[in-house]
């Protein structure tokens, strides 16, 4: 047990040094890489490692007779987590999310330090000592707080009220609600029931399972499946349509959406927000194929007005492409990203 705790303490110290380095900009945030495809769970695992490390550290210090008071343990952990979010995570997390996480972690710290009466007494003892001011030091601290707290709160208020030159926050929603049906080139498509006419099996019938089996593999490599190369001239049917969709994509879409469909095309950074990243599991992977068909056809200008502002400059592609071409582009996007269109069965 002792050895385990010592190991934990070692992890805790190493982790703190690493984070300290990141805060002081000695160690880059990317020193330990966030691995694509595993980032979300990696973050949770890292924080879990820190918690284990802190447990070990606390145990070891306790055994050495240098126990950290519960008050400082609580405050220390909270500060650690805020620093972790600010300096370890990249790309930078927006303030709103850090504020949410900061509040949750503060509540969590409160729940921890007040879970039992004994812990709660230990935690609030330093606060009570300062309030009671029985010693000279505590009396001094009390006066300091009396002066500093109003200044601090006043400073926050001043900062909050001060006019700023930066653009205001927009509560933008990524997925606008589609209409029940859409009319493209004179034909009405019901979004709930329409199907991509090019998602077909060798017999020419609509077959999502067949197409799913031929898309690129998901994950880091995004490799093509064996015998499923659309650029092989011999391929017919689904894979041929994917190729045609790819040609249309690279002639029209990749300038903004990028040649890897990750929203980082040549012109992407001329826009704010940059174009949609199709490789993100939160975009086309969440949607029905007909939704994409509608979005491509109608573009930013055709978005419903109940969710303004949409901040989309995508042109209404129905003015430039045929219905068949739009369906093929959609087919290609799913093939290339390795995602499956959403279905409701």
């Amino acid at each position: 047990m002792k050895a385990l705790m010592s190991l934990g303490a070692l992890i805790g110290v190493a982790g703190l040094l690493l984070l300290g380095g990141m805060v002081l900009d000695v160690v880059p945030s990317t020193y330990i890489r966030l691995v694509e495809g595993y980032m979300p769970i990696q973050m949770l695992l890292e924080v879990a490692c820190y918690v284990i490390g802190f447990t070990g550290l606390s145990y070891t210090l306790n055994a050495m007779g240098m126990a950290i008071p519960r008050f400082w343990q609580g405050i220390g952990f909270w500060v650690f987590f805020l620093l972790y979010l600010k300096y370890r995570m990249y790309p930078p997390i927006p303030f709103s999310v850090r504020a949410m996480y900061g509040t949750v972690s503060l509540v969590a710290v409160f729940m921890w330090v007040s879970a039992s009466e004994e812990d709660w007494q230990k935690f609030k003892q330093p606060i009570m000592n300062v309030l009671d001011a029985q010693t000279g030091g505590n009396r001094l601290l009390r006066y300091l707080y009396l002066v500093l707290l109003p200044i601090l709160i006043g400073g926050f208020s001043f900062n909050a009220m001060m006019p700023k030159s930066e653009e205001p926050i927009e509560l933008r929603t990524v997925h606008p609600a589609p209409p029940a049906s859409t009319k493209v080139h004179g034909k009405t498509y019901t979004l709930q029931t329409s199907q991509n006419p090019y998602r077909v099996n060798p017999e020419g019938k609509y077959d999502q399972e067949f197409s799913n089996a031929n898309i690129v593999e998901q994950g880091m490599g995004r490799l093509m499946k064996p015998n499923a190369n659309p650029w092989d001239d011999k391929n017919q049917g689904y894979l041929k349509y994917v190729r045609e969709g790819g040609e249309i994509f690279y002639q029209n879409c990749h300038f903004c959406h990028g040649d890897n469909l990750n929203g980082r095309g040549l012109h992407a950074f001329a826009f704010n927000p940059i174009p949609a990243n199709f490789t993100d599991p939160g975009t086309i992977a969440q949607l029905q194929e007909t939704f994409i068909f509608w979005r491509v056809s109608k573009g930013g200008i055709g978005l419903p007005n109940e969710g303004f502002p949409w901040a989309s400059v995508m042109p209404p592609w129905e003015q430039h492409l045929t219905v068949d071409e739009i369906w093929k582009v959609v087919l290609f996007e799913y093939w290339h990203t390795g995602y499956y269109p959403r279905t409701w069965d």
């Binding site: 999310v97 205001p168 929603t173 927000p273 969440q286 109940e306």
Partner: protein
């Protein structure tokens, strides 16, 4: 003997009367189902042959004879939208919300009474039985005052509809006429049953009569539940109309109009929601009384009452997210754009707030349980592990509340390099959120298990094996839930939706198997000390108040979301809202309005509690007597 027989006859007659009252509205309403005013017109039309006009049901796709008028095409003006110099929608919102709060409360509390009275009847310990009985009586007493207020608020709601939205209400009542009559008559039956149930409490407190009394509570709850189902059919129709053609003309099949796409999930969600809400309100009442108590005895009583109410409320809170998930799934299946508006589009921000509130509910529950462990000797062995539960809960909570689209300044957006954050963006979609909430619920179950065994040591021969098994079971459950949440990103969306089933099954397995196993292990267990009722921290009581407030706020929020998803429709895709208020409020305005409704409800319910305390009935002396600290132990823990 003769007196007893007479009492039995009387009670059976009373019961028959209750059943009669229950059936009366159905009998009265039947003719209007079969030969309502429209029906002869239909018959006549049939006879005329060529005059028969048929319509196609917008949902069931069946053909039916048109028997109703089309939905009115309203115009903004005093005829369709008469108004004060104030937003009519806000007035209606207020009236509706208050009626719903009270309605939920008075439907939930009798269910609690039924459960607690039953516990009292079957408990062998006389003192404990009396205490349960007293508790059930206290509950129904609170509910009775609230019942009158519910009826008054219902009247206000109808008048608000009639005076501010006459065209819409006329259309709705035209379609639901027989249902509304049944509803009104069932309300009479509900009132009659409730009054007999309440005033007959003392007369029917023993023996066979007690069973009759108990069965009356069952009838009371059946009527109450049916009442709610009928009211749900109206909102179900407004969201997902059926039984009418594209013009909104009624096609003569009342069952189609009632049984819309969303009716069943709404019913389930509301039953569970009402129960959780009712538990929360009663727990808050107990917490308030606890904090205001002057004697240890009172503190012990209200501590116990708060625990029972909390346990009942949480028992219904645990399945509530799953019912909500089913409702949302049905919404998506009914109309994709409605689902996206709710969870990915215009109203998505409100869902983030909802997730936050759900998290608060579970966090408060866990916190209360940990505090409650402080009043039992022996629970210290679990308290030192609480910090790990806090960590797990916080992680699950953070994942659960992470928005898919983050609030950010354009500068932050640029720095992030795109709308989706590569790490946190993945927490924003359903797969991760399912994992988050299941982790939270499983942890709540674990907290309950710890609480239940807090002051006990199992004496069964296989105790060690049992403990190891439980530990492994929980570890596997966490692993499975998290694994499925991650795996969900690598499979098609329709399959991913299906993953929620094994995740929920894992959580429920923990709930049922672990509770059952724990109960078996703790049978005849060695007691390390009694539960010292009343010796709980004040913080725990604030947690209960927090729980109740969060319930109330969330109910207001979800009601607003459910209603707003129709956007500019009175009846979705059938009757358009042409009033000047057919737009969606800002998140800030909605939050303020919900807060106002919550505040108003709590002020008035405090008044109700105060009224209840005016005629407070003292706890019977014999039930108060006993060894200090041995006040009856709650059913959930023993």
């Amino acid at each position: 003997m003769g007196l007893l027989a007479g009492k039995r006859v009387l009670s059976i007659m009373a019961l028959c009367m209750m059943v009669g009252l229950l059936l009366l509205p159905i009998v009265v309403a039947l003719p209007s189902l079969a030969i309502g005013e429209e029906a002869p017109a239909g018959d006549t039309a049939k006879k005329d042959g060529d005059k028969v006009e048929k319509g196609r049901d917008v949902y069931y796709k069946t053909e039916g004879i048109v028997v109703g008028a089309p939905a009115p095409k309203t115009v903004d003006g005093p005829r369709d939208y008469p108004r004060y110099n104030f937003e009519s929608r806000v007035l209606l919102w207020f009236a509706n919300q208050q009626h719903l709060y009270y309605g939920s409360f008075v439907l939930a509390v009798p269910i609690f009474c039924m459960i607690i009275e039953f516990m009292g009847v079957v408990t062998k310990d006389k003192a404990l039985a009396k205490r349960y009985d007293q508790l059930a009586y206290d509950f129904i007493k609170i509910s009775l005052t609230a019942y009158s207020l519910t009826a008054i608020l219902g009247g206000i709601l109808i008048f608000t509809f009639l005076t501010l939205y006459p065209a819409f209400f006329s259309y709705l009542s035209g379609i639901f006429r027989p249902v509304m009559h049944i509803y009104a008559l069932m309300f009479v039956a509900e009132s009659g049953t409730l009054y007999i149930y309440y005033y007959g409490w003392d007369k029917m407190k023993e023996g066979f009569l007690k069973w009759i009394h108990l069965s009356m509570s069952v009838i009371l709850n059946i009527i109450g539940t049916l009442l709610m189902f009928l009211a749900n059919s109206w909102i179900g129709f407004m969201m997902s109309p059926a039984g009418v053609d594209e013009q909104g003309r009624y096609l003569g099949n009342i069952w189609h109009v009632i049984h819309t796409a969303l009716w069943n999930p709404l019913n389930l969600h509301r039953i569970l929601g009402n129960m959780a809400f009712g538990g929360g309100v009663v727990a808050a009442y107990a917490a308030y009384k606890f904090l205001a108590s002057k004697t240890d005895e009172d503190r012990a009583h209200y501590d116990w009452m708060g625990y029972i109410a909390m346990a009942l409320g949480v028992a219904f809170l645990i399945p509530l997210p799953f019912a909500g998930y089913w409702l949302m799934r049905e919404v998506y299946a009914y109309r994709q754009q409605m689902g996206i508006t709710l969870m990915g589009g215009l109203l998505a921000w409100l869902f983030i707030i909802q997730a936050t509130m759900i998290g608060i509910l579970f966090l408060s529950t866990n916190y209360y349980l940990w505090q409650a462990m402080g009043r039992m000797r022996g629970a210290e062995k679990y308290q030192r592990y609480i910090k790990y539960l806090v960590f797990i809960l916080a992680c699950g909570y953070m994942v659960f509340i992470t928005p898919h689209t983050m609030v950010m300044t354009p500068a932050e957006l640029k720095a992030m390099g795109g709308q989706q954050h590569p790490v946190l963006g993945n927490y924003g979609v359903m797969s991760a959120k399912n994992g988050g909430i299941n982790v939270i619920i499983t942890t709540t179950v674990l907290s309950f298990v710890w609480y239940m065994r807090g002051n006990k040591v199992s004496t069964v021969s296989w105790a060690k094996f049992g403990n190891i098994f439980m530990g492994i079971f929980f570890a596997c459950a966490y692993f499975n839930i998290i694994f499925l949440a991650v795996y969900g990103y690598y499979i098609p969306a329709n399959v991913r939706v299906g993953l929620s089933v094994p995740q929920v099954a894992t959580t429920l397995s923990c709930l049922f198997f672990m509770f059952a196993l724990n109960s078996v292990m703790m049978k005849g267990a060695k007691q390390l000390g009694p539960i010292e009722w009343g010796k709980i921290s004040a913080r725990s009581q604030y947690a209960l108040i927090m729980l109740a407030t969060a319930f109330t706020w969330m109910m207001g929020l979800m009601g607003y979301i459910r209603s707003s998803v129709r956007l500019f429709w009175h009846v979705n895709e059938i009757m358009r809202d042409n009033s000047p208020w057919a737009y969606t409020h800002t998140v800030g305005f909605a939050a303020n309005m919900i807060s106002f409704n919550v505040l108003f409800f709590w002020i008035t319910i405090l008044f109700v509690f105060w009224l209840g305390s005016l005629g407070a009935k003292k706890v019977p002396v014999e039930s108060k007597a006993g060894i200090p600290g041995s006040i009856p132990q709650p059913i959930a823990s023993h």
